[in-house]
C-alpha cells in the first residue's frame, strides 16, 4: 500500500491505495465520484476523461499514485454554485447526448479543447479534437454543435468575468 494526497474538485484527499490503482478506480471506488465512466478499459473511448492540473487525461491509463500533489477535476466538479458550466448547459440544450455514457468524458474533453484552442471553434477543429472520444449513439452531429455553442457561452462568461 502507498499513500497519495491530491486535490479533487477543490478538496484535499488522502488515500491509502494499492500502488497499481488507476486514477479512475480512485475516483469511482474510493471517492464514489461515479460520473467518470469506464467504457473500453483500454484508453480509447474517452468516457473516463478528467482534468489533471487543468489538462485532459484518460483516467483509466493513469496511476492514482502519479497524481500525488496534483489537482484533479471531474465532471462533478465543474458546475459552480448550483449553476451548470456553460459546456454542460450546451450539451443539455443542444441534445448532445442520448444514452449519456460518453457525456462526462465528452464535456471534459470539450472544455480542454476550449482551454487549448480558444472559444471561437470551427466544426473541423472540434471534429478532429474529439477523435479520442467515442459516442455510439448520436452520430456526433449534436455533440459538435454543443461544443461550439458551449465554447461561445464560455467566451461570454469570460467577458463577464473580465468586466
Amino acid at each position: 500500500m502507498t499513500t497519495v494526497t491530491l486535490t479533487v474538485n477543490g478538496q484535499s484527499v488522502t488515500q491509502a491505495i494499492d500502488p497499481r490503482t488507476l486514477l479512475v478506480q480512485l475516483l469511482r471506488e474510493n471517492l464514489r465520484l461515479t460520473g467518470t465512466h469506464v467504457g473500453c478499459d483500454t484508453s480509447q473511448c474517452g468516457a473516463c476523461v478528467v482534468h489533471v492540473n487543468g489538462v485532459s487525461v484518460k483516467s483509466c491509463t493513469m496511476l492514482a499514485a502519479q497524481c500525488e500533489g496534483a489537482s484533479v477535476t471531474t465532471i462533478e466538479g465543474i458546475a459552480q454554485g448550483g449553476q451548470l458550466h456553460p459546456m454542460q448547459e450546451a450539451f443539455r440544450e443542444h441534445h448532445g447526448l442520448q444514452c449519456g455514457y460518453c457525456t462526462p468524458g465528452m464535456i471534459m474533453s470539450a472544455i480542454d479543447i476550449v482551454n487549448r484552442k480558444g472559444t471561437a471553434l470551427d466544426e473541423e477543429t472540434v471534429r478532429h479534437e474529439l477523435e479520442g472520444n467515442i459516442c455510439r449513439c448520436t452520430g456526433y452531429h449534436n455533440i459538435v454543435k454543443a461544443v461550439i455553442a458551449g465554447a461561445e457561452a464560455m467566451a461570454g462568461g469570460m467577458r463577464q468575468a473580465a468586466e
Partner: protein
C-alpha cells in the same frame, strides 16, 4: 411554484416563453386546444443528470456491504469436448471466495430465449472460443479476473466452423431452412429479357454499447432475489434467473433504470451475466456483481449476423425487375438465440422498397463456432435490404441507366404494391414523395452530372453518389410480443409517477412516454416522475426492441392515464354539476366553463371521495397477424420510410475514402419529439455507416475473434462523419392509429447508410462502366482496393 420532480429546469424553460430548442423542426404549431407536450422537442429525460455525471448506470450503484465481484473463466478452444477442468489453482488464488461451475446450478443449465440450446456454463462441450466455463467470485474485481485465468482446461479440440462455407460443408444449422415467395420464379427468370447472378458477402457488427454488460444480484429473504441488469428485456432476465435457480418467477425481480446504449446487444445477451450474478449470489449468499471487461464483452457476446447472399435477378432493358431469386446464408453462431426472427426479418426486407412480380426468398440459418449472433438495430433487415440495393446497382451497370432511375422504376406503386409475403404496401405515395423530394432537395441530378464529369477526368480519385430508399416494417414479427403495460399513480399533491415495461437505453423512450402522460393530465412535464423499469411493477413485458418502444408503451401509458383522468373528471363534473365531457385538463388546471381548480386540488378531492388514483394500462397492437408455417398474414402494423443521398470520394490506389455529404429525408409520422427523432436518425445513420465501411470483425481460423477492442475494431469517430450532414423529417401523419400519429424511429435510419455503400460502389463503377462492382461489405479500404483491382483500377 410546484416542485420540479425531474430537477431538469423544464419549469424555468416553460416560464421563459422560448421554445425548448431550435431543433423544433417538424413540431406541430401550438395554440388553442392542440397538444401541448407531444410533438415537441424536449431534451432527454436525464439530460440534466448526464451532463453532471449524476445519472447512475449499473456500475455506479452503491454496492451493498459484502458484495463479491465476479469474473468468467473462458474456453481456450472454439469446438470440442471438455476433457478436464482443474480449478484448484483458481480456488487457491488470493481473494477468491468461491468458484462456481455448471454443477452448482440448482435448476436448468439453459439461458436460451426459447430452444434450450445454450448453456449458462459449459458442461460437456464448448462451441465457441471464450465460452463461459466457470465463474470466480472474489473480494475484488481485480482478484476475480486474475484468478479466472488460472484454470487448467483441456479440450479435445476439433476444427471449428467459422465461415458460411465451413458450416455448409458440415451441413450444420441452428434452425430449419425457411422460404416464402410469389409466382414461378424459375420460369420468370427464363422469360426475362436479361438475367444477372450475383453474390454479396456482408460482415457482422459489434454493438459497442459504451456501457458494457453488467449485473448486480442481491439475495433477499425466503429465496427471493433482486437483479439489477443492464438489459433491454427485464422479463427474460427474470425468467432465466428463475429457471437457473429453480424458483418461481415471482421470487425474482429484475430492475433497470437506464442502459449506456444497447442497440439490440442487451435484448437476449444481457441475460447470461444477470443469471451468473444471481447464481453466484445464491451459492455464496452474498450480493454479487459482474461487469465484463470490454475485450471479454467482445469475445463473449453475440453480434449482427454475417451473411453470404446469392441472388439471381430477371429484368428488362429499362432495368425493371420481373423476378428475384435470393438465398440468404446467415452465420448464426453456436446457438439459435434470436436467429429465427432476425433472419425472417432479413427475408421480410429482401424487397426493401421495390416491387418484385415473382420472388423466391430463401434462408439458411447456419451453425458456426462463434458467439451466438443476435439482435442488432435493424434485426436482420439491413442485410436483406443491402442485397437488393446491390442488385439494383448491378442492373444499373448492365443497362447503363442511372441507378436512381432503376430504383424509381422498381419502387412500389399503386397496383404494384404487394410484398413477396403478401402484405400490401399502403403508403406508396409517401415512399415516392420521399424519394422525389430528396432527389430535388439534395440536387441529385446536378450533382450526378458533376460526379460523372469529375470521374470522366480519369484520375485515381473518384467520386460516387447514391440515393437509396428505406421501407421498414414496424411490429415484432412474433405477433404475441406486440403488447405492453404501464402503471400510473397520481398522488394527492398532484404529482405523478409513471412506470411502463419499456427500457431506456438512450433512445428517449422515457421522455416520450412522459410527454404522453403529461399531455393526458394537462400538467407540466416536471410533475411526472419517471421510474425505473422493473418486473414487480409491470409484469410479463416484451423486450424494448423492434423500434416499437414508444408505439407500445406510449399507448399503454395513455390508457392508464386516461383511466385515472376519467375518474377525476367524474368527480369534477359532479362537484360542478356539468357533463364529464365538458371537463378539460390543461396547464395544470382542471376546468369546465367558468369553474376551475388545480390538478392537485382535484387529486385531493378525489382521494377524499375515495376515488382510486392509480391505474394500469394495457395495449396490444391491432390488425396484425402472421402465420409463419403458411407464410400468410400481415406481420407489420405499418411501414416507416426514408431515403438518403450520400456522396463519397474514393482513392482507388489505396482504398481510402470519405463521405463528403449526406442528405436524409425520413418519415417518423407526426413526431412525438422531433429533437429525439432527429438524434435517432443521425445516430442510426452513422452506426449503419460504420457497419458498412470501417467496422470489420475478423476471426482467426481457430475461431478466436481478433478484433476484440476499439484498437482493432474501428467505430466511427467525430471526424468520420460528414460535416455536410442534412437531416429533415418528412411531414407526415401515420395512417394507422398510432400514438399521436407518430411512427417508430429506432431502427429504420440504420439502413439509410446503404446509400454510403452504394455511393462507394458508384465511384468504383466509373473504373469500368457497364460491369457490376464486386464490392463486399464492409467496404473497408482493403475491400475497396480489391474491387478496384478487379475492375482494372488500383494501379
Amino acid at each position: 411554484m410546484a416542485a420540479d420532480l425531474q430537477g431538469d429546469g423544464l419549469t424555468r424553460a416553460e416560464g421563459s416563453g422560448r421554445p425548448p430548442h431550435p431543433v423544433d423542426r417538424g413540431a406541430v404549431p401550438r395554440g388553442g386546444d392542440g397538444p401541448v407536450h407531444v410533438h415537441r422537442a424536449y431534451p432527454h429525460d436525464s439530460a440534466h443528470l448526464h451532463v453532471q455525471g449524476a445519472a447512475s448506470y449499473l456500475d455506479d450503484l452503491l454496492e451493498p456491504e459484502g458484495t463479491l465481484h465476479l469474473a468468467v473463466g473462458m474456453s481456450p478452444a472454439a469446438r470440442g469436448r471438455i476433457a478436464a477442468m482443474d480449478l484448484a489453482p483458481v480456488r487457491a488464488a488470493p481473494g477468491v471466495v468461491r468458484v462456481v461451475t455448471a454443477g452448482d446450478i440448482p435448476g436448468r443449465n439453459d439461458i436460451s430465449p426459447a430452444l434450450g440450446d445454450e448453456t449458462l456454463l459449459a458442461d460437456t462441450h464448448v462451441a465457441f472460443h471464450g465460452q463461459a466455463m466457470f465463474l470466480v467470485a472474489a473480494t475484488t474485481r481485480d482478484a476475480a479476473r486474475r484468478a479466472a485465468r488460472l484454470g487448467r482446461i483441456e479440450i479435445e479440440a476439433q476444427e471449428p466452423s467459422v465461415t458460411v462455407e465451413d458450416a455448409e460443408r458440415r451441413d450444420e444449422r441452428v434452425l430449419p431452412d425457411y422460404a416464402f415467395g410469389r409466382g414461378d420464379v424459375a420460369t420468370a427468370l427464363k422469360a426475362a429479357p436479361r438475367m444477372l447472378e450475383g453474390r454479396l458477402r456482408i460482415g457482422g457488427q459489434e454493438h459497442f454499447y459504451l456501457e458494457g454488460q453488467a449485473a448486480l444480484a442481491i439475495p433477499g429473504e425466503d429465496g427471493a432475489i433482486l437483479v439489477h441488469s443492464s438489459t433491454q428485456h427485464p422479463t427474460e432476465v427474470q425468467h432465466v434467473v428463475a429457471r437457473i435457480l429453480n424458483v418461481p418467477d415471482a421470487l425474482v425481480t429484475c430492475e433497470v433504470r437506464r442502459m449506456g446504449g444497447a442497440f439490440g446487444g442487451k435484448e437476449s445477451q444481457a441475460t447470461q451475466w444477470a443469471a451468473l450474478a444471481a447464481l453466484a449470489a445464491r451459492v455464496t449468499g452474498r450480493p454479487c456483481k459482474l461487469r465484463l471487461d470490454r475485450d471479454d464483452d467482445f469475445a463473449l457476446t453475440g453480434k449482427r449476423h454475417d451473411f453470404r447472399v446469392d441472388y439471381r435477378l430477371g429484368f428488362d432493358a429499362d432495368g425493371r425487375v420481373s423476378a428475384y431469386d435470393v438465398d440468404f446464408l446467415a452465420c448464426c453462431g453456436h446457438s439459435a438465440d434470436l436467429s429465427q426472427g432476425v433472419v425472417d426479418r432479413t427475408m421480410f426486407h429482401a424487397d426493401n422498397a421495390y416491387f418484385l412480380p415473382a420472388a423466391r426468398v430463401a434462408s439458411r440459418r447456419l451453425k458456426t463456432n462463434t458467439v451466438s449472433n443476435t439482435a442488432f438495430r435493424g434485426f436482420g433487415g439491413p442485410q436483406g435490404m443491402l442485397a437488393i440495393e446491390k442488385a439494383m446497382d448491378d442492373v444499373a451497370r448492365l443497362t447503363g441507366r442511372d441507378p436512381l432511375d432503376v430504383r424509381l422504376a422498381n419502387l412500389y406503386a399503386p397496383g404494384r404494391d404487394e410484398t413477396p409475403f403478401g402484405m400490401k404496401v399502403e403508403e406508396t405515395d409517401t415512399l415516392r414523395a420521399i424519394m422525389e423530394g430528396l432527389e430535388r432537395s439534395s440536387g441529385y441530378r446536378e450533382r450526378r452530372a458533376q460526379v460523372d464529369a469529375f470521374n470522366a477526368g480519369g484520375g485515381w480519385l473518384r467520386r460516387g453518389l447514391a440515393l437509396t430508399p428505406v421501407k421498414f416494417g414496424i411490429s415484432f414479427t412474433l405477433t404475441h410480443l406486440n403488447q405492453a403495460g404501464a402503471l400510473v399513480h397520481v398522488y394527492t399533491d398532484g404529482s405523478v409517477q409513471l412506470n411502463h415495461g419499456g427500457t431506456e437505453m438512450g433512445q428517449g423512450l422515457y421522455r416520450k412516454v412522459a410527454q404522453v402522460v403529461a399531455e393526458e393530465f394537462g400538467i407540466g412535464l416536471e410533475r411526472v416522475r419517471i421510474t425505473a423499469t422493473t418486473t414487480d411493477k409491470v409484469p410479463n413485458t416484451s423486450p424494448t426492441a423492434a423500434s416499437a418502444g414508444s408505439d407500445l408503451n406510449g399507448m399503454a401509458a395513455k390508457v392508464a392515464a386516461s383511466t385515472i383522468r376519467a375518474r377525476m373528471a367524474g368527480i369534477a363534473a359532479a362537484l360542478w354539476g356539468v357533463d364529464e365531457e365538458a371537463v378539460r385538463f390543461r396547464d395544470g388546471m382542471v376546468a369546465a366553463g367558468a369553474e376551475s381548480m388545480t390538478f392537485a386540488d382535484l387529486a385531493r378531492a378525489c382521494h377524499q371521495q375515495r376515488v382510486h388514483l392509480s391505474a394500469t394500462g394495457f395495449y396490444r397492437t391491432p390488425n396484425i397477424t402472421w402465420d409463419r408455417a403458411s407464410a400468410t398474414g400481415r406481420p407489420f402494423f405499418y411501414f416507416a420510410y426514408g431515403a438518403a443521398c450520400a456522396e463519397v470520394l474514393v482513392d482507388t490506389l489505396t482504398g481510402e475514402n470519405r463521405v463528403t455529404r449526406v442528405d436524409i429525408l425520413h418519415d417518423v409520422g407526426a413526431s412525438l419529439n422531433p429533437a429525439i427523432d432527429i438524434g435517432q436518425i443521425e445516430g442510426g445513420f452513422v452506426q449503419g455507416m460504420g457497419w458498412l465501411t470501417t467496422e470489420e470483425l475478423v476471426y482467426a481460423p481457430d475461431g478466436r475473434l481478433l478484433t476484440h477492442a476499439p484498437a482493432t475494431y474501428k467505430i466511427p469517430v467525430s471526424s468520420d462523419v460528414p460535416a455536410d450532414f442534412r437531416v429533415e423529417l418528412f411531414p407526415n401523419s401515420a395512417r394507422q392509429d398510432t400514438i399521436y400519429r407518430s411512427k417508430a424511429v429506432g431502427e429504420p435510419p440504420v439502413m439509410l447508410a446503404n446509400s454510403v455503400f452504394c455511393a462507394i460502389a458508384d465511384a468504383l463503377a466509373s473504373l469500368d462502366p457497364g460491369r457490376p462492382v464486386p464490392l463486399d461489405a464492409p467496404a473497408t479500404p482493403e475491400a475497396i482496393l480489391n474491387a478496384a483491382l478487379a475492375l482494372g483500377g488500383g494501379r
